[in-house]
């Protein structure tokens, strides 16, 4: 397993790019070749990933494993450092899972203007970007991967999107780029503040602790990172790109966006912002928590006003990521664990919901909630799956969504030392009320789409059929995971716990003195 130990991560990250290179050799009209190639590439990537994850030492999730440290850009002392710990593993697994499923789903669901070669290549490039972000341990490398995902997504929305695709894609692109610029600035500031010798996350964290950096400076630097990550998450009030991007993106784009891309932001908080600048994090935490709970309520209210199914699901992401951010803002191991779980759960559940929305759109050619209805009659299995995901999304205990929400709410009752306890308890109550609203908009959606009878215009529409083969293939793993993680959450908590405890104790140590 030496190869896996040394080069496993590198191979995993760049395998999709290799696949793209191979795909480039084939002409554009060889649709099936491209589909097969793309699927194979994603499966090979997954296989390498599984080999890595199988070799991962689950008893030592707190420390970085598979460390790869090479020279990269000497001029700025940026190094090619890859490594994974318990925090990365769940997200890598999620990414490895989602991409093949998306490609499998694409088999007969290509959005206009078709062109599988370009579409699948973009998905694979995205894949590299996402995996890279989760394994990079050097800020510049992290940033590069973080930005690599932008462009393919921009094209996916801009080319294969809905009628307002241009507006949505530019908004998405500029918005995130704006955040990234500030984030990069913060990275550079950190680099110079610590003597300009390293971009390694681990070393930076140590250096910042060892140095006496002015509080204000730390706050500003954290602020830059906050903007970068918060826009990606997205937190209220930086979320407005999300509904547009989701609504306009093709189904596959929405799924990847919801399942993985949004996690880059929250992952960044836990991986980069908190460990490196714990003191600033502590000062920022009440504000982050406040924005998070506003997001929870705000997202829910936004959902209630939507008339479009996909837009509703998009808005629900704002609310759900609010729970994740609330968990992060408590700076406790409970909250951070909840955040990691919330990321994975939200990825699975909202990914599923977008899949369903895509399939509904394909059958009904509309997502207008008013015109839908009686899904359980015309496509019973699809209706049941929607019901299942609705329940999971509203945080029903026993399904995955609950374990992202409940521990976050729990953690808010007793945030880390030094945070305003009363304030966070207030947040807790608001967040708990958010669960009612979540149930409200999701069940309301379910009632109007699945219950009742089929609207006249869709009676006997031959287009409307039940779940088909590629859909089953793409969905079954997600559905199973939602259930399994919900029943036995320790599968995930056990993995993330080690590194989360590390982060939490780092923060506690730094803010304690």
């Amino acid at each position: 397993m030496d190869f896996i130990q040394d080069w496993g991560l590198t191979a995993m990250v760049f395998a999709p790019l290799a696949g793209v290179a191979i795909m480039m050799l084939f002409p554009k009209d060889a649709d099936d070749t491209h589909k097969v190639l793309a699927l194979l590439t994603s499966l090979v990537t997954a296989a390498i990933g599984i080999a890595v994850l199988a070799d991962f030492d689950y008893d030592d999730t707190g420390s970085l494993q598979f460390l790869r440290d090479n020279e990269w850009i000497n001029v700025i002392n940026s190094r090619f450092i890859l490594g994974i710990d318990g925090l990365s593993v769940p997200l890598i697994a999620l990414t490895l899972l989602i991409t093949p499923l998306v490609i499998a789903y694409s088999w007969n669901h290509f959005p206009e203007p078709h062109n599988p070669k370009a579409f699948l290549s973009l998905i694979l490039v995205l894949h590299t970007g996402m995996l890279g972000t989760f394994v990079a341990q050097d800020l510049i490398l992290f940033f590069v991967f973080f930005e690599v995902v932008l462009l393919p997504m921009y094209f996916m929305i801009g080319v294969w999107g809905g009628p307002e695709r241009q507006y949505a894609s530019i908004k998405f692109f500029l918005y995130t780029l704006f955040g990234s610029a500030l984030m990069l600035l913060s990275f550079l500031a950190l680099f110079f503040l610590t003597g300009g010798e390293t971009f390694s996350m681990v070393e930076l964290a140590e250096r910042v602790q060892g140095m006496d950096i002015a509080r204000t400076t730390q706050l500003i630097v954290f602020g830059g990172m906050f903007m970068g990550f918060a826009i990606k998450v997205p937190m209220f009030p930086f979320h407005t790109w999300l509904p547009d991007a989701h609504t306009q993106a093709p189904t596959q784009g929405s799924v990847i966006l919801a399942a993985v891309l949004l996690k880059l932001g929250t992952y960044g908080f836990i991986r980069v912002a908190l460990p490196i600048l714990p003191e600033a994090a502590q000062s920022w935490a009440p504000w982050i928590g406040g924005l998070a709970v506003i997001g929870i309520i705000y997202g829910a209210l936004g959902c209630l006003a939507q008339t479009d199914m996909k837009r509703l699901i998009a808005f629900s992401s704002v609310a759900h990521m609010g729970y994740t951010m609330l968990g992060i803002s408590t700076l406790t191991d409970f909250g951070l664990n909840a955040a990691v779980f919330g990321m994975v759960a939200h990825g699975l559940i909202t990914g599923m919901l977008f899949f369903i929305a895509g399939s509904v759109k394909e059958r009904y050619h509309t997502l207008e909630i008013k015109r839908l209805g009686g899904l359980l009659v015309s496509a019973p299995r699809l209706g049941w799956i929607l019901g299942f995901c609705t329940m999971a999304s509203l945080g029903l205990p026993g399904l995955a969504g609950f374990w992202g929400e409940f521990p976050a709410i729990l953690a808010a009752y007793q945030p880390a030392e030094g945070l305003p306890v009363e304030l966070f308890r207030g947040y807790m109550v608001v967040a708990a009320i958010g669960t009612v609203l979540a149930a409200g908009y999701l069940l309301w959606l379910y009632q109007r789409t699945a219950f009742g009878t089929v609207k006249d215009e869709f009676v006997d529409d031959p287009n409307i059929h039940d779940v088909n083969g590629p859909e089953w293939i793409a969905w079954t793993p997600l559905l199973a995971l939602i259930l399994i993680l919900g029943v036995y959450p320790n599968l995930l908590f056990k993995v993330s716990d080690g590194s989360i405890v590390n982060v939490a104790s780092q923060i506690a140590a730094a803010t304690g003195n």
Partner: protein, 826 residues
């Protein structure tokens, strides 16, 4: 944790079934999965999976009860032998019996006890073979005398012992150093609930095979019955509060699915949504309360530990008070307490057997059960044992009267029963609120039987007339369905509390508790409330029986009326409609569908459950006959068995002997002949008044039209105190309507506007901003909501001038600004 006795009790072997009771919910969960997986293929036989599973679980539960009896017995003796002679080996209690105060148990040894139990009780209670096991377990343990005399007087001579709950758990998840477990916690009340839930669930399964035969979602129906049973059984055995929350919500989902079983019609799905959302409102309280307890008890969800700490005063009173008030919100929503009761009557949109199982006998008592389960918290948090009037009692009292009042104006038989359930749940909560724990649980126990009987009875009637409307489609049913009628009457008698039916004993105990507990009689007000409630119960149930079973038959025109009438669950339409599909299920069912002329008695699968429930409604009350006061002649062996067997003993329950942190001792009320007689008389009076009003036509009929005040009162009742209006119209409508729309508007116009504005500002500065605002106003006026997308696109179009210089300008300006920030920061 439990002091000296722990070691002693720990030595007692709980028995195989007790230790493995966790398989019960697992079996039901498997049944759910299996039914879903292969049910469709089995057609009408799909129900067999569920029936066999629940049957197995019932037998298992009976076995658990038997072993529990032995376990309680052993625990006592082990404790005694321990306290009297610590050298004695704990497992054996052969010699100590000679020294017991209890003379009824002169014979020694376990086998003797068991044998005697098996022999005596069936004879004494005459329940029949079905409940043999339960009876055998419900027998008088040796120290009954001491316990019975305990009361508030607290006589000496009671051997202090604990009954160690049987627990078993595995790690569920971990967080840092804290491990969370999932497992079972079996003590008296859990064992009791196991029996109740499995029994009623079994009967409902059997009943349903006839009742919903031919339904198009037959499989799903039984699948969800299984899932519900699994969740409920898991709920009662929850080892920790997190598990409690999980299963609490799961039963809610099953309730949602089953209320909305016929979701093609909007009212049904509305009712399902309402039930779920109302429960979610309560769940906020549940989550918050449990979180408070989690931290107050030092990061643990363990129910026993939380209760123990609450009892020992290690959790501050403030935390307990806040937590119990939060949890009260959950109780109010789940157990249909005022003011969150509104979903329960609507929930009658579901199939009737579901109403019987979920919305009368089991799920709705989850709130009550939760209070009982966390009694250490409530007892100390609300200072129940002290002299203050507490929220729990007030809510319960309000519910008793409010629910009963509404039951008078319903024309739908199921809604009468639903409001009656609300009212009876009020009794239970009130009982818990005044400190009569055992009375509450006992009432829960008896109520489960007779209310399930009533619901199934109403189902039986409705099955015959295809409607639930008493005023329009029933009347004179007695002649058509005598068997149903008599079971209904028996259950009604139990509900009203006529001696010697089950309800009499439990309601009397509650009333006695209200009069005697709480120090200086500060709960007397609730005695009055309870008594008035009894009177009202009697009256509305008499009205119900009159409208249903007496007078002229008004039905037979089913086809025309039951469509579209607002209050009518349309379930019978489904049955009728489905019977026409010509599948082989119809053989037995067809006669009903065709023969509308005259209703007739239901088949055996409906009647047998009714018989069993009626039988239990007669005898269940004898499970806890007090032997104090006027009844002190009652043999001690058979007195207060329920209390003795099912009331927890240990540090996690308010102590019978020592004052807890709030200075109160947990006590049992004594039998009071005056209260017993007066409540019976009130019940009879209620029957009499209703009889006079309905049967004889006496009294001021039509007063609601003549007298303004009465008219207003009537209107308020008909409108259900306007709660629905408040919730659906104002709160939900408000949130869904204006508030959500305002948020959306804010999002579209303000936030998106800011984004777009920033985009513009970066490009061209002031002049363009002016232009855009200008444009925005025009655009906004012209096509309001479509602005965000269009206007935004416009903005970015402006930026896209194609002028290289301008691009360069932006690029440079941005770079310079960034560099500036950079330099300033460094």
């Amino acid at each position: 944790m439990f002091g000296a006795a722990e070691a002693a009790a720990g030595a007692v072997e709980p028995g195989f079934l007790l230790e493995n009771a966790y398989v019960v919910p697992l079996v039901m969960a498997a049944s759910f999965a299996l039914t879903l997986a292969i049910g469709k293929r089995l057609g009408k036989h799909a129900s067999w999976i569920g029936i066999v599973s629940i049957g197995f679980c019932f037998l298992f539960a009976v076995g658990v009860n038997v072993q529990w009896y032995g376990y309680v017995h052993d625990s006592e003796h082990a404790a005694e032998s321990h306290s009297e002679d610590s050298e004695e080996s704990h497992g054996e209690d052969t010699e100590d019996h000679a020294e017991d105060e209890d003379e009824a148990h002169a014979e020694d040894g376990d086998e003797a006890h068991a044998e005697e139990g098996a022999l005596v009780l069936p004879a004494a209670e005459g329940i029949g073979p079905m409940v043999d096991g339960e009876s055998a377990s419900a027998r008088g343990p040796p120290t009954v005398a001491a316990v019975a005399e305990e009361g508030e007087g607290g006589e000496d001579g009671h051997a202090e012992y604990t009954i160690e709950p049987v627990t078993k758990s595995v790690t569920w998840w971990t967080n840092g150093t804290v491990e969370f477990e999932v497992g079972m916690l079996l003590d008296g009340m859990a064992v009791m609930m196991l029996f109740v839930v499995t029994l009623i669930s079994l009967l409902v399964h059997v009943f349903s095979t006839d009742y919903v035969a031919g339904d198009r979602r037959y499989t799903h129906y039984f699948a969800f019955l299984s899932l519900f049973s699994a969740a409920m059984l898991g709920f009662v055995m929850s080892q920790n509060t997190l598990q409690l929350i999980t299963l609490w919500e799961l039963v809610g989902v099953c309730s949602f699915a089953l209320i909305g079983h016929w979701w093609e019609e909007k009212p049904n799905s509305d009712a399902a949504l309402k039930a779920f959302l109302t429960n979610r409102v309560g769940d906020v309280g549940l989550l918050v309360g449990m979180i408070i307890l989690f931290f107050a008890a030092g990061q643990t969800f363990d129910i026993i530990e939380i209760n123990t700490l609450a009892n020992s005063g290690d959790i501050t009173h403030t935390a307990l008070l806040v937590a119990s008030l939060c949890l009260l919100a959950a109780v109010m929503s789940k157990s249909g307490q005022f003011i969150l009761h509104t979903w329960l009557p609507d929930a009658m949109a579901g199939p009737t057997p579901v109403s019987a199982l979920i919305h009368a006998a089991t799920m709705v008592v989850a709130g009550v059960y939760m209070v009982a389960r966390m009694y250490g918290v409530f007892w100390n948090g609300l200072v129940i044992g002290g002299s203050s009037v507490n929220a729990l009692a007030v809510v319960g009292g309000l519910t008793v009267l409010g629910g009963a009042g509404l039951a008078f104006v319903q024309s739908d038989i199921k809604k009468v029963l639903a409001y009656s359930t609300v009212s009876q749940l009020g009794y239970m909560v009130m009982a818990l609120g005044v400190g009569a724990w055992t009375a509450a649980l006992f009432h829960l126990f008896t109520h489960a039987f007779f209310k399930a009987g009533l619901f199934l009875g109403s189902g039986s009637v409705a099955h015959a007339v295809h409607s639930f409307d008493m005023k329009k489609d029933m009347g004179g049913m007695k002649q058509f369905m005598p068997k149903t009628f008599w079971t209904f009457v028996i259950c009604t008698a139990a509900l009203i509390g006529i001696f010697p039916f089950a309800g009499f004993w439990s309601k009397d105990e509650i009333l006695a508790g209200a009069s005697q507990l709480g120090g200086d009689g500060s709960y007397t007000a609730f005695l009055v409330v309870g008594s008035i409630g009894a009177l009202m119960t009697a009256a509305y149930m008499t009205r119900c029986i009159y409208l249903t079973f007496f007078g002229e038959f008004r039905g037979g025109h089913h086809g025309e009326v039951s469509h579209g009438t607002e209050d009518h669950p349309v379930e019978e339409d489904h049955l009728a409609a489905d019977s026409g599909h010509g599948d082989d299920l119809e053989a037995a069912h067809d006669p009903h569908a065709d023969d509308h002329g005259l209703p007739h008695e239901s088949g055996p699968r409906i009647l047998v459950p009714l018989y069993i429930l009626a039988g239990l409604a007669i005898v269940a009350g004898f499970a806890n006959v007090p032997n104090s006061g006027a009844l002190s002649w009652w043999p001690e062996d058979f007195a207060l068995v329920f209390e003795h067997l099912f009331e927890p003993r240990g540090g996690y329950f308010p102590s019978l002997t020592e004052a807890g942190p709030t200075g109160a001792v947990f006590a049992h009320p004594k039998f009071d002949i005056v209260i017993a007689l007066s409540s019976t008389l009130l019940g009879l009076l209620g029957i009499g008044l209703a009889y006079a009003w309905y049967f004889k036509g006496l009294g001021p009929h039509g007063i609601t039209r003549r007298n303004r005040l009465a008219g207003v009162g009537h209107r308020i009742l008909v409108n259900k105190y306007y709660f629905d209006h408040l919730y659906t119209g104002i709160i939900a409508g408000g949130v869904k309507g204006p508030v959500a729309r305002a948020t959306n508007w804010f999002n579209k116009h303000i936030l998106d506007g800011v984004v777009d504005g920033v985009g513009k500002g970066a490009v061209v500065g002031g002049r363009f901003v002016y232009e855009t605002i200008d444009q925005k106003v025009v655009d906004g006026a012209v096509n309001g909501s479509g602005y965000a997308a269009e206007g935004g696109g416009q903005v970015f179009r402006i930026m896209q001038t194609g002028k290289v210089q301008q691009y360069g300008a932006i690029l440079f300006a941005a770079t310079v600004v960034l560099a500036g920030v950079f330099i300033v920061v460094i």
